[in-house]
Symmetry: C2
Subunit: 403 residues, 2 copies
């Protein structure tokens, strides 16, 4: 079948991974020397597969096989990594796309539709907090605010691009999103569901929307020994009650929602003092806009409560869920069956460029298992067999759609 | 009535307060220059009232009026303050005792029983964590472990005593606890109950026992977006559930218990990560040994739970409740009525030397209101009228018991 291609993919993953080594940590941040090294490799691999290289103004790299029609089928993923990240997140989707498109071209010649492989920049938000710079750029969602955002050294996106490493001479007419008929992204799952269920590929139905922010509850600070329970306004107890209620609420929606309170700050945080305040982060994700709206409603209702506590809400992110294309999903199901792959239709709890693109054009995603559900870590690992399954599915999909 | 005595008490509170000024903060730690200044004042005031001065080996200061019998009625409080503390905590009970004993002697001459005023050292535990050094010493409960305890500069109790400021020449035969027939301590309430209820004095029925420690809950760290709720072992959610359950349990015992979880440490404490662990302080106080035992049982039962979480318990303090003397309480009630004072029988949620002494001899406590329930703060304040009520009650009690 595709032993030679898989071998190449395995080596390419290793080579691309090496470009991200920055001193003692692994971090391929956007517009850096590490990024420059990665682009050099990706350009070379695209050329090797007869893809025509171009960049757009934000620094996305494209490799194109011109088809009979102008309509473009876009595939790929992001080339940046989180700080202290792994080998597969992002990289897998670009490398498999280069190999799939190149070998389809070699096997079948010129496609009906044009096919482009994209290596997006700055999806992770690990250099500039907002993230999704590349996909926001091609879908016209990059605001001036985001372009002025600063990294931890105080350098804005605009300034960083000026230092950037991509070759300005290669900036050509970037694909217009109106010409992009479809986008498909292969990615590791970053969760433990596929591995736990023993399934070979995940066919993504939707990418969760997200509500991120901070809730501060202010009570009355007092002596832990001399203040009877009935006289207390203890914000730790109030926060605990809220967390329990939110968990009960979330569970009524099964797999359609996650609710996490991962950061807790208590003030003054002394064992013999009833605290003055508690600050809780909330991270609520759902495939349903209605459920997210309900969560927002529950949170906002707190501010109106007259129960002796003070409540302050701060929203940091508020993104709607993205639905994947149904026809594309049916096609992926059909190909999986033909390839004899066990598959699971599932939503993605993590964010991806695909969710930005899905607002503008038909989009699909393929997941392969992450061992132990580990990602954003040097321990991130996917088996070569699983990579093969995802690769064959991507290749089959591109063949059906573009050739 | 006692206008002159009250004026003296007011001035003495101010003068003693000044001795605790240490640079920018107020802190009269034990065996320090501040303590030395305080002892100089207290010695002088005792002498002025014809009390015979002595010290014991730990540094408690006594002022004695010898009576016809050897039996001793002991009264007083502690002379140390917490860091950044106030004017009344401890000081009030010593100053009022000096004035009451001195003026009773002036009015009525030699008492039937010997009366001694004590100025205990290191009750607060703000220099050496264990606290109650003075009362533990006279009741024979000072262990070698405590004597080897170090302050934040690494100085042990033993070493600190050698630098101490009390006059070694004045160490005489300290009162043996077997000769102490009774102990009575006047103290500010340090809570808001008396003020809120508009009552003039509190007659303490018991001092709460206390269970202090730390509970660590270890779950499974994971991605906040990609881990379904049913696959989680989220220690924040588990801790919240525990806090809610403990509050419900505590409320079933009304005023007989307080439960506080004032310190919370979450690891790694990131909004988009289901945490690995949560560490909670617990501070559980009750007038009932049975209730405390039940609390301990609930906590220990956690360690046996097989629910996928890891539980670690660490106990820091475990003191039984102390019952105040019933006959003394009846006497205090009778005198309150005679003086036309509105009183409240109540327990003490804070710890006092009286709870240590109560294990060995008949002990009582009088509380006066703390405005706003504030103590262990420079804002600590008690009205002079309330001080007058407490003073008259103490004086009346000593008169009945010793003269």
């Amino acid at each position: 079948m595709c032993k030679k291609e898989l071998k190449w993919i395995e080596n390419a993953l290793d080579s691309l991974h090496e470009t991200g080594q920055k001193g003692n940590i692994h971090w391929r941040a956007t517009y850096t020397e590490e990024d420059k090294k990665a682009l050099k490799l990706l350009e070379q691999w695209m050329k090797d597969q007869n893809l025509e290289i171009s960049y757009d103004n934000i620094g996305n790299l494209y490799g194109k096989i011109k088809g009979e029609q102008e309509k473009i089928v876009l595939t790929g993923s992001h080339r940046d990594t989180v700080k202290h990240g792994g080998k597969y997140d992002g990289a897998l989707g670009i490398i498999c796309a280069i190999s799939a498109v190149g070998s389809l071209y070699a096997e079948l010649g010129k496609p009906k539709k044009s096919v482009e492989v994209v290596a997006f920049c700055e999806e992770e938000g690990s250099r500039f907090l907002s993230g999704y710079l590349g996909s926001r750029y091609i879908t016209g969602q990059l605001t001036d605010d985001i372009m002025q955002e600063r990294d931890s050294d105080g350098i804005t996106v605009n300034e960083a691009i000026n230092y950037a490493c991509f070759d300005r001479n290669k900036i050509k007419k970037a694909p217009q999103i109106s010409d992009v008929e479809r986008f498909i992204e292969l990615h590791i799952e970053q969760g433990g569901v596929l591995e736990r269920r023993g399934e070979q590929v995940g066919l993504v139905t939707s990418i969760v929307g997200i509500l991120i922010g901070r809730l501060t509850i202010v009570g009355h600070q007092n002596h832990a020994g001399t203040t009877p329970m009935y006289m207390r306004k203890d914000p730790v107890t109030r926060a605990a009650q809220f967390i329990v209620e939110m968990n009960q609420w979330a569970k009524t929606y099964g797999e359609h929602i996650t609710a996490t309170f991962g950061e807790v700050q208590v003030f003054p945080n002394k064992s013999n003092v009833i605290p003055e305040s508690v600050s809780l982060s909330f991270d609520i994700r759902s495939t349903s806009s209605d459920i997210l709206r309900e969560a927002e409603h529950i949170l906002k209702a707190l501010e109106q409560k007259r129960d002796g506590f003070g409540y302050t809400l701060e929203f940091v992110a508020h993104d709607a869920p993205a639905q994947m294309d149904e026809d594309g999903l049916k096609l992926l199901e059909g190909i999986s069956k033909k390839l004899n792959l066990s598959y699971r239709k599932m939503h993605s709890g993590a964010g991806h460029d695909a969710q930005i693109i899905a607002e503008k054009t038909k989009t699909n995603m393929i997941f392969i298992p992450s061992i132990g559900g580990i990602s954003h870590s040097p321990l991130e690992y996917s088996k070569i067999d699983d990579i093969g399954h995802g690769y064959l599915l991507l290749k089959g999909f591109l063949r059906e759609i573009a050739w």
